[in-house]
Each structure stands twice: as C-alpha cells, then as structure tokens.
C-alpha cells in the first residue's frame, strides 16, 4: 500500500508567496483535485510533489507501507502529464515509448506499447515523428508516457488540454481506471475533470 503525505508545503518566488501550509495525505483509491485561478500555483504544486521543484518550506513524503520511499527513487512510483513536460520531438511515438521503457528498466514490449497507442488512438501515427504531431496528438502521447510503468501515483496537470471529445473520454477512462488502485492528483480548471475528485484543494483561497 502506497501513500503520499505533504506537510506544510509553502512556496514563494523572490518575494511573492504562491501558497503556504499545504498539508494532506493521499491513499490508494483517492483522487485529489487542485484548483485555483491561472497563475495560482497548481502546476508548481504538482512539480513539487514530483520532486522537480524544491518547496520553500515543508516536505513531501511517499510511503510504501510504513517505509518511506527515498526522494531519489520517488520518480519510479509516479507518472506525470503537464503542459511543460515535452517529449522528444525528433523521435517517432514508438521510439519515444521505447526510450522511456528502457530508461525506466521496463522490458520494452512493442506489442503492449502498440496496445497503449491504440488506446489513445495514435496507432496510425505511431511511426510519425512527433515534431509533426498536432497539439492533441502530443497530449495523447504524453498520457501514454505517464502510464507506461503503471505508477501508483498519477499527477495530471490539465490532462484534457488540446483534446477533442474522444480524447476527453480517454482521460476519463484513465482516471476512473486508476482510481481503482492508485492515487491521483489532478490540477485543472475544467469542472469536468475536477469532478472526479472526492477532495479538492483550492489554491486561490
């Protein structure tokens, strides 16, 4: 059983305080939404959880059972989608997947990668370089990248951005499926996405 615990997280940039005293615990099966106006710090909070940004105060912990997971191996247990997280433009979608599998130490399996591609509707474009992908196609590929290693913690920053209604349906499926066993944090302005969450933290208050 995994769990995520944030205690008294606070972040400020040269003088302006973004948020302070964010504390919560998340357990498998729970979905947490983070809301707030543009620029309120949603993405920053997600990056803090992922370990990409250092909080000004407070700490982020992940536990496997009772045992804390050291910060440097936290990345194995989380998958992230965000507007600023780009994939490799000059590779094709399949090559991207191949790379992320290998680098994470998962045996690369063309079959299951193709399955995932099919799930997000990219089968036809799997061998096209990502530079020429449309905005929605890129977003779909990002979803695959986050799910590749079936992480117990999923961090979704505006997951439905650029997607058409089919794409939104895919995101919905992913969230519902992940809710069965894993932890999910969604940062979004879309009411539809926020509604999957039992709990919400509003950073604008």
């Amino acid at each position: 059983m995994y769990s995520l615990k944030l205690s008294n997280i606070c972040k400020h940039y040269t003088g302006t305080l973004l948020f302070k005293d964010i504390s919560f615990e998340l357990r498998p099966g729970e979905v947490l939404a983070i809301t707030g106006w543009n620029g309120s710090g949603k993405s920053t909070l997600l990056r803090i959880i992922a370990g990409l940004v250092r909080p000004s105060l407070g700490k982020v912990e992940m536990f496997m059972g009772d045992e804390p997971i050291p910060k440097e191996s936290r990345r194995k247990f989380l998958g992230m989608v965000a507007p600023a997280l780009a994939l490799y433009d000059e590779l094709t979608a399949l090559e991207n997947m191949d790379f992320f599998c290998k680098v994470r130490g998962i045996a690369y399996d063309r079959e299951s990668c193709l399955n995932m591609m099919e799930r997000v509707g990219l089968t036809e474009n799997a061998n096209k370089t990502c530079r020429n992908y449309s905005s929605g196609m890129k977003q779909r590929l990002k979803l695959v990248q986050a799910l590749l290693h079936s992480p117990p913690l999923l961090l979704l920053d505006e997951p439905g951005c650029n997607l058409d209604s089919n794409g939104m349906k895919i995101v919905e499926d992913i969230i519902l499926e992940h809710r069965q066993l894993g932890m999910t944090v969604i940062a979004s302005n879309e009411k539809r996405e926020v509604d999957y969450a039992e709990r919400a933290i509003n950073l604008s208050e």
Binding site: N8, H12, G15, L17, S56, L57
Partner: protein
Amino acid sequence: MIIKVLLSIWMAVIISAAFLYAGAAAGFPGQTSRILFFHVPQAWIATLSFLLSMIASCIYLARRSVKTDHLALSAAELGLLFCILATATGSIFARATWGSFWNWDPRQTSIVILLMIYGAYFALRSAVPDPEKRRVFAAVYSILAFVTVPFLVFVVPRITASLHPENTMNPAKPGMDPKTLKVFLGSLLAYTGLFVWMLRLKIRLLRLEGRQEPEFVISEKLKQEGEKG
C-alpha cells in the same frame, strides 16, 4: 576596531621597512627586488584563499548551510583580488627583470589558469538565478577545479624551463639577508592579517545582504507564524 588600527599600523611599518630598512637583494636589477615584499605574499594569499574556498564548498555540499557558502564566496572574491594583484606586480617585475610583461613563464601560465578559474566561478554564480542551485553549482565547480590543480602542478613545469626564481624567499634557506627575512616575514603576517580581516568583513556583509532578501524575510515570517500556530 582595535584590530583594524593595529593592522593598519603594522602595514604602514612594513611598507616603510620594505623601502627603508631592508636592502636591495642581489641578483635583481636596481631596487626592483623590493616588490618581492608585496608580490610573494599576494601570490601566497591568492593560493591560500583558493584552498579555503574549496574546503568551504565541500562542507557546504555536506551540510547545506548558507554560512559556509558565504565563506566560500568571500574567499573566492578575495582570492581573485589578490590573484589580480599578484599578476600585476609580477608583470611589472617581469618587465623590469625579463624585459617583457608577459612571456608564458610556467608561473604566469598557472596564475592565468587560477584567474580563469576564479572568473569562471563568478560567471557561473551570476548565471544561475535560483539561489540554492547557485550555491550547489558553485560548490561543485570549485571542487572540480581543485581536482585539476594537482595535474597542473605536475604538468606545467614540464612545458618550458622557467626564468622564475625558486626559493629565494624560502626562510629555511641559509644565507638570506636577516633584514630582508624579517621584513618579508612581517609582510607575510601583515597580508595574512589583512586577508582574515577582509574575509570577516565580507562574510558579515553577505549575511546582512542575505537578511534583506525577500526569500529570507518570507521564510522567517512563515517560521514565526508556524511557531505561534
């Protein structure tokens, strides 16, 4: 305060002694050897502060306390200053004795490398906006730079024979003029004192500046709130 006064008196004494008390050393044209009383201690302080900065950097990486970073930064700054002074006095000296300001003597080569390292250190610091990242990067770089120094010491003497005198000022060497030796040791002491005084001043300044920074102000405020609540 008292230290400052004592130090300035001591410096004044040494400077006058260098020109009035000690005699001109043999083997150098005219009165030029008097520059040694300044040139050598400057070079020595430059090297010393480099070492100090590296040690502070190591401690910083282990402990991550801002104080040690301040020490590393101040030592590097003063090191750069003294390094420039040593190069300048050395060049003047070189012009008087060897005929040209610069001729890629091994000593000159190594001091240029030292200057480049200091320059690079500050360039790096000014190019990293995030304060903590800046400290870590600077510390890492100063350790990397230090690792290459033994290679330098090992390698540079191989390239060309040096015109640079060795051990003329070595106190252990017999036959040195006692007056010269006295002034020289006095000057070494004066420069070391000056260095320590400037170092402490610089560290204090950095600490005060740090308190003004918005980061510090906010996190202090938040800490206080946390203690109350």
